[in-house]
């Protein structure tokens, strides 16, 4: 079985600037795949390349085995939901949704039936004869979705489609998008800079930075086992410590923190000498009596569901712990001396 999308060594150069440095990735059929990264990381360039709006400097893009890298956009069986929707202002909603069908040669009756069906799917049947300008942002977004899905593309490309919506609507649309993807069985490639969006919807995520794919994996993979400093830092909150690896044998490694504390952590990616260590704030616990680390509480921030505890280890290293706010928790006070324990595997060594 061919992959829905196979990208091999995709390079994009604008003059002397390289936007993509040989990106390779495979996306399975019926997958919700997200390209995640900060602005300028090349995620949108990659998406536009799949759509055909940017030509490829070098490399290959295969869609179910067929090389599409040099086809015109109108010859590629993929459709796009644009960031600003790009709904045709001179057409009604139903004409917008039917446009792709018209281009594919469906007659007026078929178009009307299928476009009507699509509008029903996005709950906009009552708005068929409106103009896009008469709709709210959320409604326009649904029309853009319906328009892109109507011609039954093999792959749907979504370019930050939720970024123009307000928070409430954005959160509702995440669930709806995922549902839509499961219902239609179409492969979605979703571009976003919002990690929460990526984590909630995606089957797999490719984290990108400066024109390269840093890591590909499920939400759990990239959150819990980030391969490098960029991923650990970009996804969620983390404590990044500069440590010295003193011993690495078998499954575990011993590291020395700046203050002289010793910690045992999984050996994955360890090499002797200076390295970075990532500890997720929610993986730190207050210990009763003695613990792995001793620290002084600097400040406690109340966040409702959580307490944000800022700590200083002996030796001056700063740490943040996120403690779940429960009735059992006796909140530490600023200035107090506490011991900390780490969950198993909470500390991870990073390859840069």
């Amino acid at each position: 079985m061919d992959q829905a999308i196979d990208i091999e060594g995709a390079v994009k150069r604008y003059g002397t600037v390289t936007a993509l440095h040989g990106v390779s990735l495979s996306i399975a059929d019926n997958e919700f795949f997200t390209l995640l990264g900060p602005s300028g990381c090349g995620k949108t360039t990659l998406l536009r390349m799949i759509a055909g709006f940017e030509d490829i400097t070098a490399g290959e893009i295969r869609l179910f085995g067929q090389n599409i890298a040099r086809l015109e956009p109108n010859q590629r069986p993929v459709n796009t939901v644009f960031q600003q929707y790009a709904l045709f202002p001179h057409m009604t909603v139903i004409e917008n949704v039917g446009f792709g069908l018209k281009m594919k040669g469906f007659d007026a009756t078929q178009r009307k039936a299928r476009a009507g069906q699509m509008l029903e799917m996005v709950h906009l049947s009552d708005y068929a004869d409106r103009r896009p300008s008469q709709l709210s942002g959320g409604q326009q977004q649904r029309v853009a979705l319906a328009r892109a899905l109507a011609p039954e593309p093999k792959v749907l490309l979504l370019d930050e489609p939720l970024s123009a919506l307000d928070l409430k609507l954005r959160q509702a649309m995440r669930v709806e998008l995922k549902q839509l993807q499961e219902d239609t069985g179409i492969t979605f490639i979703f571009v976003t800079h919002d990690q929460e969006e990526a984590l909630t919807m995606s089957d797999r995520i490719a984290v990108m930075s400066s024109g390269r794919v840093q890591q590909i994996g499920t939400a759990r993979d990239i959150y819990e086992t980030p391969v490098n400093r960029f991923v650990a830092d970009f996804i969620g909150e983390t404590n990044l410590l500069e440590v010295t690896v003193s011993k690495a044998d078998g499954d575990t490694a011993e590291v020395i923190l700046p203050g002289g504390h010793h910690l045992i952590c999984p050996a994955a990616g360890a090499r002797l000498g200076q390295q970075h260590l990532s500890i997720r704030p929610e993986r730190l616990r207050l210990a009763h009596g003695a613990g792995q680390l001793s620290a002084t509480v600097q400040r406690v921030v109340y966040l409702g569901t959580d307490l944000h505890v800022m700590l200083v280890l002996e030796g001056g290293t700063q740490l943040v712990a996120r403690l779940q706010n429960s009735r059992q928790l006796s909140a530490p006070e600023a200035g107090a001396h506490v011991f900390l324990d780490l969950d198993d595997g909470a500390a991870r060594l990073l390859a840069d």
């Binding site: 459709n79 796009t80 281009m103």
Partner: protein, 289 residues
């Protein structure tokens, strides 16, 4: 009571727009004075002269007068051709400018408007000089050996067309430029994404969206072309007599006929207004569709 802020505007419109038109309308219903001017006495003679033919001595049965309708028809036709040529050349020009980098657009627009810093009369005369029998154009073509004898360009319809085109091209370019510059090329991408070819994108997406600019350009070229008298007078000859020249003749020297000139102007203005009204109605209908 507060000072009516719109008063200056209304005063301007009243003095410079309404008053002359009203005056013209009144004059068209007065009796002509023989050395120019009018006698303040109501008369329909001007309109009668325009529409009704009673023979050379005014004693034959009234029939429809075709002379002036013919001139109107020729002028309208001439204006339509000039507008079409301006559109065919102006649209690609405007497109070209609007799709340059923002920093160089200003330069191109500046270049387009430079010739218009020179008086229209002088420009038209220069054009005549350029295309006359022993002018630079003919000498150049003969020098190349393309032609043996000079092309007789002056005093032809072609020369008048050239003059109108040259006079009014920027009025076509500028509104279209403004429309294309506002056009969001994401629409073109969206259409291409939905399987539309370049040609279909032009016809079904770009054209309808920039249409207001095209129509504005056409009106701005068509209306002055219809009433133009410099280009037809200087570049054309007796065979290319136009409305503008007809009106101008009525007010010149002692041979003119003011009421008749006013009547011709009123008829021309009514035609233009009707055309605009028709356009506005059709646009309004489209907007509510």
């Amino acid at each position: 009571m507060a000072f009516p802020l719109l008063l200056p505007t209304w005063a301007m419109i009243g003095i410079f727009l309404l008053l002359p038109v009203i005056l013209m309308a009144i004059y068209s219903f007065l009796t002509k004075e023989f050395r120019g001017g009018v006698v303040w006495e109501f008369s329909l003679a001007a309109y009668d002269q325009f529409f009704v033919n009673r023979g050379l001595f005014g004693d034959e049965p009234a029939t429809l007068e075709w002379t002036y309708i013919g001139i109107f028809w020729r002028s309208i036709w001439q204006a339509i051709v000039a507008t079409t040529i301006c559109l065919l050349i102006g649209f690609p020009t405007a497109w070209f400018i609007a799709t340059r980098a923002p920093t160089t657009r200003g330069v191109w627009l500046f270049l387009i408007t430079i010739p218009y810093w020179v008086n229209l009369l002088i420009r038209t005369v220069s054009l005549k000089f350029l295309i006359r029998d022993n002018g630079p154009l003919n000498e150049f073509l003969m020098g190349l050996g393309v032609i043996d004898s000079p092309l007789p360009l002056v005093n032809t319809n072609l020369a008048v067309q050239l003059g109108l085109f040259y006079s009014y091209l920027p009025f076509m370019v500028l509104p279209i430029y403004a429309a294309v510059e506002r056009y969001d090329f994401a629409y073109s991408e969206a259409a291409a994404d939905l399987y539309a070819s370049r040609w279909v994108i032009m016809r079904e997406i770009i054209m309808p969206i920039v249409k207001p600019g095209i129509i504005a350009g056409c009106i701005l070229v068509f209306v002055p072309s219809l009433g133009a008298f410099l280009a037809p007078d200087l570049l054309g000859g007796a065979k290319t007599f136009m409305i503008g020249s007809l009106i101008e003749e009525q007010f010149r020297g002692s041979l003119g006929n003011w009421p008749f000139g006013a009547a011709v102007s009123m008829i021309l203005m009514s035609l233009v207004l009707m055309a605009l009204l028709f356009y506005a109605r059709s646009m309004a209908r489209e907007g509510t569709r």
